[in-house]
Symmetry: C2
Subunit: 173 residues, 2 copies
DNA sequence: GAGGCCATGTAATGAGTTACATGATTAT
DNA sequence: ATAATCATGTAACTCATTACATGGCCTC
């Protein structure tokens, strides 16, 4: 049920075709918050259209249809954002691995933790650069800055944790 | 496909019945990493048994069956942990909301951000206490400490981020 | 004996992935 | 012309949630 809000949010930000949306789900939002494939996106766009929450605002070559939100769609999105988060599905393979890592021998854990540290540090740096670029403009905080900045904080924390874990292990071996 | 590794991991840590596992999925691991309902757990336990990865190690009243991992099951888990994380599914409603929050008016965002700050601070405190308790023993870092400590770092970061966002907004209004 | 929890299961439905499928346009 | 990319769709399958269903044991 969250997919529809993801779509409404993306289309509210700027109109897009199913193809465009598929690309965007393969990047930012899809890599960090919610992912979807085109085979799920196209049918959902149809449903949203039927429900009057989005509409075709432009057509292009090769059967391309560009969708935008309707007033009803923006109201629906707003209501969802203001409502109680259901918390809902937690499904994070990375974290599951952390939960289970003690099933490995200490010496097997070290390279994994080092990989995590490296990856998280890299992501934090990359996102910090993105935030820099996004906020360069000036007055208004552009859509996506909040999420990107969240990523900076989150990945830094992951890197800190990995360093803690490596150190902890060193101390106890 | 991750569910089976979650089950193998939990059972490796200590034998349990389907009912026990359901409880555990409703708490720690389920609230933070991977959740599952009993209707999914019971059939998966059957499959794992048929594949020889787990086995019934004890029976109790009311048809209770306590499962434990077999050598093959532990090998399977180990292999998965050492293999490349597929990254796989990202599905995080909380983060999705952050991505879309700029669809709200600034004055509508503040209470949400304050709620996040409060919640995250509470969780960080709660988990810090849990880590304290887990590590009190001494030498060995018990299973789950890594994950719990990760939670401490992660929730602190979320609280920091929320404070940043609130401040940022105050500055720009 | 009534209510609550323990304990397991299945059926129906919904959400999501993979694979199959087609055709138009653009760049080389 | 041919390969790459744009653009959309459907079918089969798997994974996950909700709802339905049953019965045993324990406490009051």
């Amino acid at each position: 049920m969250s997919l529809r809000y993801a779509l409404l949010g993306l289309l509210r930000d700027r109109p897009a075709s199913g193809y465009d949306l598929t690309q965007r789900f393969a990047q930012g939002i899809g890599r960090h918050a919610w992912s979807a494939k085109h085979s799920q996106i196209y049918p959902e766009l149809r449903k949203l259209t039927e429900e009057g929450l989005i509409e075709v605002v432009d057509e292009g070559t090769r059967g391309k249809r560009v969708y935008g939100t309707t007033a009803a769609g923006r109201a629906e999105l707003r209501e969802w954002l203001l409502g109680e988060p259901k918390g809902g599905t937690i499904r994070n393979e990375f974290l599951l691995r952390l939960f289970l890592i003690s099933a490995l021998e200490p010496e097997e854990r070290a390279p994994i933790l080092e990989g995590v540290e490296k990856f998280a540090t890299g992501m934090a740096t990359e996102l910090a650069a993105l935030v820099e670029q996004l906020t360069a403009g000036g007055e208004e905080l552009p859509a996506g800055s909040y999420a990107a900045m969240y990523g900076v904080f989150a990945y830094r924390a992951t890197a800190d944790w990995a360093r803690w874990a490596i150190e902890e292990q060193r101390k106890r071996s």
